[in-house]
């Protein structure tokens, strides 16, 4: 377990900024105590200092997880967000997509969001903007990338993809063993 290097921090923050923009600031400077990012076995964990102190007592090979896992660095040093980061992305997300109840299940099985399943979308979402996907009851379901801008979405045919799937909460069941 170690703090992130300069490069790793940049990779992580660039990725996060796609979803929450300048709200990253709120993650780092929190009123309720200091929080930090730590790297452990290629995973990035977001954890409070108090919990970190406890975790340093655990031998590295015995430590499984601490705080919240945000994602992992690939072998090529790219950063991948995991669905476990959703709890922090959802409250700060700048661009959101709501899916209709009928399309919920499809998204939770790992499929992209189609125009026919699109309930609402934030105004002026640009193409390839990171978005957080919600159900119509405002329950966060996952996140992805807008395939079309808001304007384009109005024109496309119903079967066109509007949000590319990146992660969804169905992974808690489907990929339980690879979450950390």
């Amino acid at each position: 377990m170690r703090p992130l290097t300069e490069e790793e921090t940049r990779a992580l923050f660039e990725k996060l900024a796609k979803y929450i923009g300048e709200n990253i600031q709120l993650l780092v400077d929190r009123p309720d105590g200091s929080y930090c990012f730590r790297l452990h076995k290629d995973r990035v964990y977001y954890v409070s200092e108090r919990i970190l102190k406890v975790a340093t007592n655990i031998p590295g090979d015995k430590l499984v997880s601490l705080g919240t896992c945000f994602g992992k660095f690939t072998k090529t040093q790219k950063f991948r967000l995991h669905v476990t980061a959703l709890d922090y992305l959802a409250p700060y997300a700048k661009y959101k997509v709501w899916v209709k109840p009928g399309a919920e299940q499809s998204f939770l099985y790992g499929n992209h969001v189609l125009k026919s399943g699109l309930g609402r979308i934030t105004e002026n979402t640009a193409q390839y903007q990171g978005v957080v996907v919600y159900s119509m009851a405002d329950v966060p379901l996952g996140f992805g990338v807008a395939a079309k801008s808001t304007q384009d979405c109005r024109k496309v045919d119903p079967m066109a993809i509007v949000v590319f799937h990146q992660a969804d909460v169905g992974e808690y069941v489907r990929h339980e063993e690879t979450l950390t």
Binding site: I51, V54, I58, K62, V64, C69, E104, Y172
Partner: protein, 689 residues
Amino acid sequence: MGRKLDVLRKEKRGPGRKARKQKGAEVELAKFLPPATENSGKKLSSHARKRAAKRQMGSGKPQAKKKLLQLKKPPDEGGMDDNSAAAGQASPQIAGKHRGPGKGASRHPRLGFCDSSSSLLTPASTVVKRSWPTGNNEKECLESSESEGDEVMDAWESMEDDGSNEEMVDDYGASSSEEEELLPIEQAAQKQKSGREGLSEDDSEDEEEEEQVSGLGMEKEGTDLQLNMEMDEQFLLPTSEDLEKETAEPPDLHLIHQRIKDNVEVLQDFGAKREVGRARQEYLTLLRQDLAAYYSYSDFLLKKLMELFPVSELINFLESNEVPRPMTIRTNTLKTRRRDLAQALINRGVNLDPLGKWSKTGLVVYDSSVPIGATPEYLAGHYMLQGASSLLPVMALAPQENERILDMCCAPGGKTSYIAQLMKNTGVILANDSNAERLRSVVGNLHRLGVTNAVLSHCNGRQFPKVLGGFDRVLLDAPCSGTGVISKDPAVKTNKDEKDVLRCAHLQKELILSAIDSVNAASETGGYVVYCTCSIMVEENEWVVDYALKRRNVRLVSTGLDFGKEGFTRFKDRRFHPTLKNTRRFYPHTHNMDGFFIAKLKKFSNAIPKMQKEEESTVETASLELAPEEAVEPQLKKKRLEKLKVTTGKKKQPISKRGSLQRQRRPLPRNLGARPPARKQHKVHRSGQ
């Protein structure tokens, strides 16, 4: 409709739907039938006779021999045989129509048993001295008022066999050891019979024809049925020959079930219903064998359970292990409220209710049109699938905000997330499990439920005060034999034996000491350890807690749960600390949740009591070995090992102690024994045992 379910009266499984009877009908039947009267002479329908014939033919090979013997010896006694049946455990259908009016006087006063199918259930081998009506007599057998299709059909076949009865009698008739084996009551019955030989076969045959003409006699049948019930109460133990015969054949579950029922009845009123000269132990042994066969338990486990429960409760327990517990879910108050969750699930077609007034977060799910473990609400972390019983240890732990908490054996994370929820994600939870594979589900569950204050490790729980100590509270959900959750994992019925239980107990003792050592007694808010298992064995529960009370500065405090049964303070020859009544036991049959044991300990000093001084080390081992709880050899060794572990950590052991340990485990190498005084000391101690 609306009949009470009686677990003891399990419905027989017929070959088809129509053959199955409605449950409890036999109880109500008694109400409809007219009260018993003494006059006999009722008529039977042809079906009744056929069925009776079938009963006699088909009620098992073991009976055949005896029956035929009876047929041969008193060829014409007919219905009188039923007198002797009073001594046996009898089937109520077989009614003598020639029964005299005076007979009622000797009958057992109890009413109420009129299960018409019980002749099929009647254990053939339980009837030691039962005499059977002759072939002629069959026609007098009473028709049971509930007709069962299969029975009737089978009766046709057996009717054809009737004629061959006589020949078979000749085959078997040679042996005549019967007379010596007769019990006193049967001899009395035979005397009675001989006094009434006036009745002839012809009579009964005439009657048969009459019946065929006139299909009357329902009320009269009712009376006789009642009469039979009264007299056929007593249950006789099967002889060893019967049991041998039975083992040779594939087990007949109906028969065994009936025998269990009768046996329990006798055991509950042993003084009145016992068979003269038979010990309670014999009944209990038979009951154990039957239960083991019927519910497919290992003999060991059943023996343990019989020590734990009285007989009637035992049956309830075994029966409730056959049905699953209701599915319960716990609301994740970190993300939602129970009312909102319930509404969301109801909209998805889930039928649910609040769990009970003791839980503010639990919901019980009756049925659901969608899989409960895959709804969007579940995936969004609004609830956790969790048994009702695993809420209790966390409630007993009562974690406070901003505390440091250790969950020693956390997988699959249900209790851990409940702790986090009660702490509102403040403080720190160290969730530990020794199995890295099982930790994956913990990681998933904690992230799904939005728990952010947890650290997960996979250390061995026994290393614990060394890894990290000074916790405010520790929850130890110890690995156990799982005897409380047989309904979840029926493999426990057969794959556990004494060794497994003791191995678990040993591990649990090590873990509970680690848990206690990890707690900081000086904590302002805490200093508590909650010990729980999903086992109901005393060895894994009270014994372990009692051990901890002796070894550490802890005392038992109330768990804060207002239901559950108190723990044992005495069990067989073991005497535990009186405060063990503060512990709580939960059983599937009384609380409809998994079997569970919960103890809450308060640590009042961080000092570890020095139980083992140098001078007393040998003496103490001896006294420990003499302690009543250590009757079994493996326990002896284990205890000594544990003690050694504890003591070596603190101070140098006298050589004698080490020597004695090694000697017990394996032959002591000669060169190790190079310290004469120590060995001498050891010898003294051994001889003192």
